[in-house]
């Protein structure tokens, strides 16, 4: 998990800074990131495992596949964060760097990387939750051939206990997971996010000073540093060094000259690798196309596509249904909590902890509770989608409600605007851009959760217990195709689903995003 996070940070610097600095790279990288981000990663997981294992068989292959999956769940979001930070660097900073004859490396070290810290750290918090969801899911999703399954891990343990009906052990595991979550958050991710606040160009929100954990880190850090380095070095990191050493400048020059080629090569290599993996995965499918079977194959494919389209329609309705429900629940609560001095801290802390619990581990308990209700399967599916995605809307709106200008709230108070009017004319439009951003990530996340929500089984000691299963759905279809090793159906489902998502993203959401950021943003 940490390996994946580390990889993601490196990747997002490389890609984000390249896109932020060079116009050419921006044109190439942004649409690609956009598509990669919106494609349901979990859907690709079976293929990825299949591909990686066929190259690197055995345990290391599985582990690599899991790291890769988690990486793909975290990296795009963080790369966007870096890109946005680079774009937001005040022009004066860059002009100053040029003025001081700062080398490429110097700019990287003293400007680009520090500038990217706040957003990167904040997004890492979100990515961590998402990554955890995928970690647990990927552990739980057993593949058709059980040799592929990861044998150890909290996800495996929880699933196994649930399958055995050992609810005491199950609850213990869930609690243990929760405790680990809280600890990693408190000891590692949160201090990182707070530390990075100091790289913000403004002096607002210096929350880090009052945070106990952060302060103790700082204390320990300073003691250690005082011994090893002189204080000057630390300051040099923060303040922009007035002059670079000549050697550094030279290396920088050479790097700058080569960075374009290096970047391009790396980019092409990455694409090639992806293509190779996909090709490797598709090969068995393609192999079956012989001259005699060609017509039958295409007919077969057409029938499958019909099935896929029906399943897609069901899933689409499911995702959007839960989405609308999340809007109705999430927006009022998030705005209320965001505007209230008293509620904000407790609400955000509690919801952050709840949100980081990966939905699938709660599934057995949910199934047990919802058993008595009608439409139990749909309810379970909806709950899983909700738990996996609701937070995108909630946290986005919560953050936006915090930044509604105080004078606007005061003006509303002064003109005695109350009730429905206040919500319709002031609150909701104020957070509109964040509702759209949250919605885009919500929908993206929701398609991913379908893999678990629509069909879910646990196998233990050879016996399989199906916990949930909806009537129709693309997630279910994908799962079944994976279990039965039907690679054509698997590929067809993924491609159809990806195509639908990408098309909706590029048309509707692109338009909504551009419109709202133009019309509803306070910084014009």
């Amino acid at each position: 998990m940490l390996a994946a996070l580390f990889l993601s940070v490196l990747f997002s610097w490389a890609v984000g800074i390249a896109a932020g600095v060079s116009k050419g790279a921006e044109r190439a990288i942004l649409p690609l990131l956009d598509v990669l981000q919106s494609v349901p990663i979990l859907g690709f997981f079976p293929i990825m495992i299949y591909a990686i294992i066929s190259i690197l068989p055995g345990k290391p292959g599985i582990e690599l596949a899991v790291v890769f999956l988690i990486f793909t769940s975290m990296a795009w979001n963080m790369a966007f964060a870096v890109y946005e930070s680079i774009k937001a660097i005040p022009r004066e900073f860059l002009e100053m760097a040029t003025d001081l004859n700062m080398s490429g490396w110097g700019k990287l070290r003293h400007i680009y990387i520090p500038a990217s810290w706040p957003k990167l750290a904040y997004n890492a918090l979100v990515s961590w939750d998402v990554g955890l969801f995928f970690l647990v899911s990927s552990e739980i999703i057993t593949l058709g051939n059980s040799n592929y399954a990861v044998s150890h891990g909290i996800g495996v343990a929880i699933a196994t206990y649930a399958a055995q009906g050992n609810y005491v052990a199950y609850s213990e595991s869930v609690v243990l997971l929760l405790v680990v979550l809280i600890i990693t958050r408190a000891l590692f991710l949160r201090p990182w996010a707070l530390w990075s606040e100091k790289f913000k160009p403004s002096d607002e929100a210096m929350q880090m000073r009052t945070d106990a954990v952060y302060r103790s880190y700082r204390w320990v850090g300073e003691k250690a540093k005082a011994k090893v380095f002189s204080n000057m070095r630390l300051r040099g990191m923060l303040a922009f060094a007035p002059h670079m050493s000549r050697v550094e400048a030279k290396i920088g020059q050479r790097l700058r000259a080569r960075s374009k080629t290096i970047g391009k090569t790396a980019f092409i290599a990455f694409l090639l690798l992806l293509a190779l993996l996909l090709g490797k995965a598709m090969y068995p499918g393609i192999k079956t196309i012989t001259y005699q079977h060609a017509t039958a194959f295409w007919l077969d494919l057409a029938t499958m596509e019909k099935e896929v389209l029906v399943a897609l329609a069901f899933s689409f309705a499911r995702v959007w249904g839960v989405y609308l429900l999340s809007l109705v629940i999430g927006i009022p609560i998030a705005i209320k909590a965001g505007l209230s001095q008293r509620l904000y801290e407790p609400v955000s802390t509690v919801t952050q902890i709840i949100s980081s619990v990966p939905g699938p581990v709660l599934l057995p308990a949910m199934v047990a509770i919802l058993l008595a209700f009608p439409f139990k399967d749909e309810l379970v599916a909806a709950t899983i989608i909700f738990l996996g995605s609701f937070w995108y809307i909630f946290f986005n709106v919560l953050g936006a409600a915090r930044t509604i200008p105080k004078t606007v709230i005061e003006a509303a108070q002064l003109y005695q605007i109350k009730g429905w009017r206040l919500w319709r004319d002031i609150y909701i439009p104020s957070v509109m851009p964040s509702i759209i951003t949250g919605s885009i990530t919500f929908i993206g996340g929701a398609w991913n959760t379908l893999m678990v929500a629509e069909y879910f089984d646990v196998s233990s000691n050879g016996s399989t217990v199906i916990l949930t299963q909806v009537n129709q759905g693309i997630g279910k279809l994908l799962d079944i195709a994976t279990y039965s090793g039907n690679i054509q159906l698997m590929l067809l489902s993924i491609l159809s689903m990806s195509l639908l998502i990408v098309v909706v993203n590029l048309t509707f959401w692109r338009w909504a995003y551009n419109f709202t950021t133009k019309r509803f943003s306070y910084n014009v």
């Binding site: 009052t210 200008p405 004078t407 606007v408 005061e410 003006a411 509303a412 108070q413 002064l414 003109y415 005695q416 605007i417 109350k418 009017r421 004319d425 002031i426 439009p429 104020s430 509109m432 133009k518 019309r519 509803f520 943003s521 306070y522 014009v524």
Partner: protein
Amino acid sequence: MSEVETNNQEQEAQPPIILALKNINLTIQLDKRVLEVLRDVSFTVKEGEFVSIIGPSGAGKSTLLRVIAGLVKPTTGVILYRSKPLSSTTKGISMIFQNYALLPWKTALENVEIALYSNDQLSSNDKKAKALRSLASVGLAGFENAYPGELSGGMKQRVAIARALVLEPEILLMDEPFSALDPLTAEHLRDEVYSYIINPSSPIKSVIMVSHNVEEVVELSDKVIVLSPRPAHVIGQVNIDLDRPRDKKSFEFYTYVDQIFALLT
């Protein structure tokens, strides 16, 4: 205390007091620290008077204005508006905010109309007509359908003024109304604002303006309240007795400017 009042003014019949602040204290709690913002602030505003509040930045000038608007409750002390204690926001007192507080998703006209939302007696047509008149009175006829993003800083400020005027308040509060504008626009708007606001056809009787610009304050005010650094209390009151329009190059003008600077430093 520095009083500059001429004798003949005292002999004339005084206009009635429209607003009186009596021993206003305000302490707020910030991260477990108790912060004293206002200490025993008292002054009066007469009908027809343009009063400015000046003080070092961070002193609590804007907070004081919010106390008068009824947006912030003082810890102790009372505000008498036409001799009645003020407990919340009222139609008689309106405010222009520092960064205009315009809603970017509403047109200039709609931004003015929101001030009338809570008025149930007016039909929506009447509200629109009133808002249009108000926009025209600040020289923005023809810009009703422009969004704030399409307007210059000076025009945005005029929309904000139109919004405050549409309620026909008796007292207008202005929080650094010219500080976000470039000096030329500010200069131009200062001259105009005075004529929009203080004229026989305007409902506004008195203005209270917060500023940190001494020249601006001397140019516009009848009375200047000088506040100390936090916790803010009144360290001086200067009555400015100059004919309007005021000659900013005159000796008398600079005597007042120097006097206020002396109090501030």
